[in-house]
C-alpha cells in the first residue's frame, strides 16, 4: 500500500517533468508518441507529428545512480535514450559524496528502485552479504538471451560474481592506466630521457630538484608531487615497478598480502630516499589531490605518478602558468630485477544491481535487461558517453572528438558517462580522439600496460574477516607505511605493525583468502 502511493507519487513527478519537457521542447506531442522503430532516430524526428500508435508500451524504468558532476544533467540525453530504447526513464541522481547514506537508507526501507547502481567496488563488497541472502536478482542465467550483454568480458564478470553467481552488470574501466606524467622540457634541458628503471627514475627526481630545470637560478623545484593516497597516488604504481604484488600475491604457493613482501619494503625505502633528499613534497602524507595537482600545474614539481589520463587537466593549467612547458607520459619502468609490471584494477569501477523489492517478476527483469542490452549497442552507448553527434561531439577518423563547447557537454552528458555498461570493445562506442600528444601517448601506454598487468588475485574471492575488519586493519598498515617513509619507525617497527595486523584479524584474512583461492 505504502509502496503504491509512493510509486504513484513518483509517477506524478515523472509525468510532471515530462510535461515540462514537452513545453520546452515545443513540438513534442506527448509521452506515447515514440516511434514504432525506435532504433532509427532520424525517423523518430520525422514522425513527431504522427498520431500515437502504441505498438509496444514503453517500459518504465527507475534508475538510481551516483552523481559525479556538479549538477544533475538536464533531460536532453535522457529523452534521446527513451526514444532509442522505447522506455520511460526516471534517473535518480544522488551526490556521490553521500551516496552510501542514501543507498543504505533506501535499502533498509525497501525503497531501492529497479536499477540500483552502487558507488564503487567497496560498496559492492558491503552489498555481498545481502546479495547472498537473495535480495537481488541473479542475472547470470538470462545473459545468454541478450546478444549484447553476453559480449561482456568473462574475466571481469568473474570478478563481480558472488559465490560463482552473477547478479550485476559492470561499468568497465581500462585495466591499467597508472604511470607517470612528467615535464619533458625539463628532462630535455637536463639531458635526461624517460626513465627505463627505478634508478633512472630516482636520478630524474634528483635532477629535477637540484639541476635548476626551470633555469631561474633558484632551488624552487622538486621532482615528485605526491598525495595522501597509497593506492592512486605514487606508491602503489612504484611498488608495481618494484615487483610488489597487487594487494595480494602468490609466494611459495600461498597468498600473502603485498606489505609482507620485500618489494614493498624496497618501495618504502625508495620513497623515503626521495623524501629525505627533499626531491618531493615532504608533506605528502597530508597533501590533497588538489594541492598535489597545484604543485604540478604551477611549475614547481616535475613528476606526477598516478592515472596517466589526468594529463589533460594537468596540462590545461600548466601551460597557462608556464607557456613553454612540454609534458609527456611514461609507464615502462623496470624494477631492480629488470622486469616491468603495472598493477591493474579488476576492470570495473562500479556495478548495477536489480533489487527484488522493486522488480516483481521474471518478465519485468527481462524487460529491464532488454533495456540494458540496448544500452550496449554502439548507438546508445555513444549517446550516453559522448552525447548527441553534431552537438556534443563529431566523428573524426572513427573516433569521437568532443565539441568545443565543453560546458554544454559537461552539463548535459557527463552525468551519464559513469553509467555506461561495458567498455568500447564490448559496447562498440567510439574511442576518444585526443589532440594532446601526451594523452595519445598515454592511451598507447594503457594498452601496453595491460600486457604486463598484475591483477589482484583476491578480486573474485571473499573473506568474511576482510568484509568485517579489512578497512580498519588496513589503516594499521597505511600508518606504518607512512611512518616508515617519514623515518619515525624502522623496519622492526614496521614488522611489528604487520604482526599487529595479523594478530587483530589479518591472520584470519590470510587463512580465508587462501582457503577460497584453492577452491
Amino acid at each position: 500500500m505504502k509502496k503504491k502511493s509512493y510509486s504513484i507519487l513518483m509517477g506524478m513527478v515523472l509525468t510532471f517533468s515530462l510535461l515540462l519537457a514537452a513545453c520546452s521542447g515545443g513540438s513534442n506531442g506527448g509521452n506515447n508518441n515514440t516511434s514504432p522503430s525506435p532504433s532509427n532516430d532520424t525517423e523518430a524526428k520525422t514522425e513527431e507529428t504522427a498520431k500515437p500508435e502504441e505498438p509496444a508500451k514503453p517500459t518504465e524504468i527507475t534508475i538510481m545512480l551516483p552523481l559525479n558532476t556538479a549538477e544533475t544533467p538536464p533531460d536532453t540525453i535522457k529523452n534521446e535514450l527513451e526514444k532509442l530504447t522505447n522506455t520511460k526513464l526516471t534517473y535518480q541522481f544522488f551526490p556521490a559524496d553521500t551516496y552510501e547514506e542514501k543507498l543504505n537508507a533506501s535499502f533498509a526501507t525497501g525503497s531501492l528502485p529497479q536499477v540500483t547502481y552502487l558507488k564503487n567496488q567497496a560498496t559492492f563488497v558491503q552489498m555481498k552479504e545481502a546479495i547472498r541472502e537473495g535480495q537481488f536478482w541473479e542475472i547470470g542465467p538470462y545473459l545468454a538471451e541478450f546478444p549484447n550483454l553476453s559480449k561482456l568480458k568473462e574475466e571481469i564478470l568473474n570478478n563481480t560474481k558472488v559465490d560463482g553467481k552473477l547478479y550485476s552488470v559492470y561499468i568497465g574501466r581500462p585495466l591499467a592506466r597508472q604511470g607517470m606524467i612528467y615535464r619533458k622540457d625539463w628532462a630535455d634541458k637536463l639531458g635526461l630521457s624517460a626513465p627505463t628503471n627505478v634508478d633512472e627514475l630516482y636520478a630524474m627526481m634528483d635532477k629535477f630538484t637540484n639541476g635548476d630545470p626551470d633555469g631561474n637560478g633558484k632551488p624552487d623545484t622538486i621532482g615528485l608531487a605526491d598525495r595522501n593516497d597509497l593506492i592512486y597516488g605514487a606508491f602503489k604504481t612504484v611498488a608495481a615497478w618494484f615487483g610488489a604484488p597487487n594487494n595480494w600475491g602468490e609466494r611459495d604457493g600461498q597468498l600473502v598480502p603485498d606489505f609482507t613482501t620485500p618489494e614493498y619494503a624496497a618501495t618504502m625505502d625508495f620513497i623515503k630516499k626521495i623524501r629525505d633528499a627533499k626531491a618531493m613534497n615532504v608533506d605528502f602524507a597530508a597533501t590533497s589531490k588538489t594541492d598535489q595537482v597545484n604543485m604540478f600545474t604551477s611549475g614547481k614539481a616535475g613528476v606526477y605518478i598516478g592515472s596517466m589520463q589526468d594529463v589533460d587537466s594537468l596540462v590545461k593549467d600548466l601551460v597557462k602558468n608556464v607557456p613553454t612547458a612540454v609534458v609527456d607520459t611514461h609507464s615502462m619502468v623496470a624494477g631492480p630485477d629488470g622486469k616491468m609490471a603495472s598493477w591493474s584494477i579488476p576492470g570495473y569501477n562500479n556495478v548495477a544491481l536489480f533489487p527484488k523489492s522493486a522488480i516483481k517478476d521474471e518478465a519485468e527483469l527481462k524487460q529491464i535487461l532488454a533495456f540494458f542490452d540496448k544500452l550496449m549497442t554502439p548507438e546508445v552507448a555513444n549517446m550516453m558517453y559522448w552525447g548527441i553527434e553534431g552537438t556534443h561531439y563529431t566523428v573524426v577518423d572513427g573516433k569521437a572528438k568532443a565539441s568545443a563547447d565543453k560546458e554544454l557537454t559537461e552539463r548535459e552528458v557527463k552525468g551519464f558517462k559513469d553509467s555506461v555498461i561495458g567498455e568500447p570493445e564490448t559496447n562498440g562506442m567510439y574511442e576518444g580522439l585526443h589532440e594532446l600528444e601526451a594523452r595519445i601517448h598515454a592511451e598507447q601506454l594503457i594498452v601496453e600496460n595491460e600486457k604486463i598487468a598484475i591483477a589482484d588475485p583476491t578480486a573474485p574471492l571473499d573473506s568474511a574477516a576482510y568484509t568485517e575488519k579489512g578497512t580498519e586493519l588496513q589503516e594499521i598498515i597505511k600508518d606504518a607505511t607512512y611512518k616508515y617513509m617519514y623515518g619515525t619507525i624502522d623496519k622492526a617497527g614496521f614488522d611489528k605493525a604487520v604482526e599487529d595486523w595479523k594478530k587483530r584479524g589479518g591472520a584470519q584474512i590470510i587463512e580465508e583468502y587462501n582457503a577460497a583461492y584453492k577452491n
Binding site: 538536464p74 559524496d97 600548466l318
Partner: protein, 291 residues
C-alpha cells in the same frame, strides 16, 4: 551613555579597539581569499596559493554557475525553506519554551529532561527515514521542515530567556484578563526580542544549511536546496572522494567555480544578520518594560 574620560578608561578603549580590529582582520582574510579566488583563473590559483587580489581577473566561474537556472532554482528553494521553516520552528519552539519556562507548571522538569535526552541519544538515519515516509512526507518540502522543527538546543536557550522575564509582569497581565496565549504573544514575545532574533537566526542558518535531509527525503533533484549543489561542487573540486580517482572520465570542476559557488551560496544568509542587529542594541528589552 556617558563617555569614560579617565586615562584608564581611554587606555582600555584603545587596547580593546585594537584587539578587536586585529581579530576582525584575521577572521576576514581567508574569506577574502575565497572571494578573490572566485574572480580569477584556476591557473593563477595554483600559482599563488593564497590570493587576496587577483592579478588576472576572470568572471568565468560566475558565468559558468549562472549559465543554467539550477543555481537560481536551488536558491529559491533554500529561501523558501528558510523562510517557512524559521516561522514554523519559531512558532512551535516559542509555544513550548514558554510553557516550560513557567515555574509553576507540573511536570516541566521531566519534560525538560526528556528534551535534553534527545540531544544525546538519536535513533539514526534509517528509523527517522521510516517515520518521515510513514507520514507521507517523502518528496515534499515539508520533509525538510517538519522533522527538524524544534531544536532542543534552541528550545532550552529560549526557555532560559523567557525565564528571566520578571514574573510580576505576567501575573499582572493575568489579572488584567489575559490568558496564557495572550501573555505569550502580547507581553513575553515583545519583551524578548533579542532572544527571538537570536533563535530565529539560528533556525534560519540551520535551514539554509539543509543538506542531508534533502538527499534522503527528496528523490527529485529539482527540489534540492543550494547546499546540495554547493557541497557537490566543493567536494568534487577538492578531490576528497578517493573513489573518484577511477573516474578520470569526469574531471572535477575548477577551483574558481568552487570559490564562486561558496560566495553565491553564503551571501544571502549573511544578509540576514544586519537586519536582526538592531535587536541586539543594548537595553532594547528593558526599555520596553518601563514604557
Amino acid at each position: 551613555m556617558v563617555e569614560d574620560k579617565t586615562f584608564g578608561g581611554r587606555l582600555f578603549s584603545i587596547v580593546n579597539f585594537t584587539l578587536l580590529a586585529v581579530i576582525a582582520l584575521v577572521t576576514v582574510l581567508p574569506f577574502l581569499h575565497v572571494v578573490a579566488g572566485s574572480f580569477t583563473t584556476s591557473a593563477e590559483m595554483a600559482m599563488k596559493k593564497f590570493i587576496l587580489v587577483p592579478t588576472i581577473w576572470s568572471f568565468d566561474a560566475y558565468t559558468f554557475i549562472f549559465s543554467t537556472d539550477t543555481i537560481f532554482r536551488a536558491m529559491a528553494v533554500s529561501t523558501g525553506i528558510t523562510l517557512f521553516g524559521t516561522l514554523f520552528s519559531m512558532f512551535t519552539t516559542a509555544l513550548m519554551a514558554y510553557g516550560l519556562s513557567r515555574r509553576d507548571l507540573d511536570g516541566r522538569k521531566a519534560i525538560m529532561f526528556l528534551v535534553v535526552f534527545t540531544m544525546l541519544f538519536s535513533g539514526g538515519l534509517i528509523p527517522t527515514f521510516l517515520v518521515v515516509r510513514e507520514m507521507g512526507l517523502i518528496d515534499t518540502y515539508a520533509a525538510l521542515i517538519i522533522p527538524s522543527a524544534i531544536s532542543a538546543f534552541n528550545l532550552i536557550i529560549l526557555k532560559n530567556f523567557f525565564q528571566n522575564i520578571p514574573e510580576g509582569l505576567e501575573e499582572s497581565a493575568k489579572i488584567d484578563g489575559c490568558n496564557d496565549f495572550g501573555i505569550l504573544f502580547r507581553i513575553v514575545l515583545p519583551l524578548s526580542m533579542p532572544a527571538i532574533a537570536t533563535i530565529s537566526l539560528f533556525y534560519a542558518v540551520t535551514y539554509w544549511n539543509t543538506y542531508l535531509s534533502a538527499i534522503l527525503y527528496l528523490d527529485d533533484s529539482a527540489k534540492w536546496p543550494i547546499q546540495v549543489l554547493l557541497r557537490q561542487i566543493v567536494v568534487l573540486a577538492s578531490g576528497l572522494d578517493y573513489s573518484s580517482d577511477l573516474d578520470a572520465a569526469v574531471p572535477p570542476p575548477d577551483q574558481t567555480v568552487k570559490m564562486a559557488v561558496i560566495v553565491v551560496a553564503t551571501l544571502p544568509i549573511l544578509l540576514v544578520y544586519p537586519f536582526l542587529q538592531k535587536h541586539f542594541a543594548k537595553g532594547a528589552m528593558l526599555g520596553s518594560i518601563k514604557g
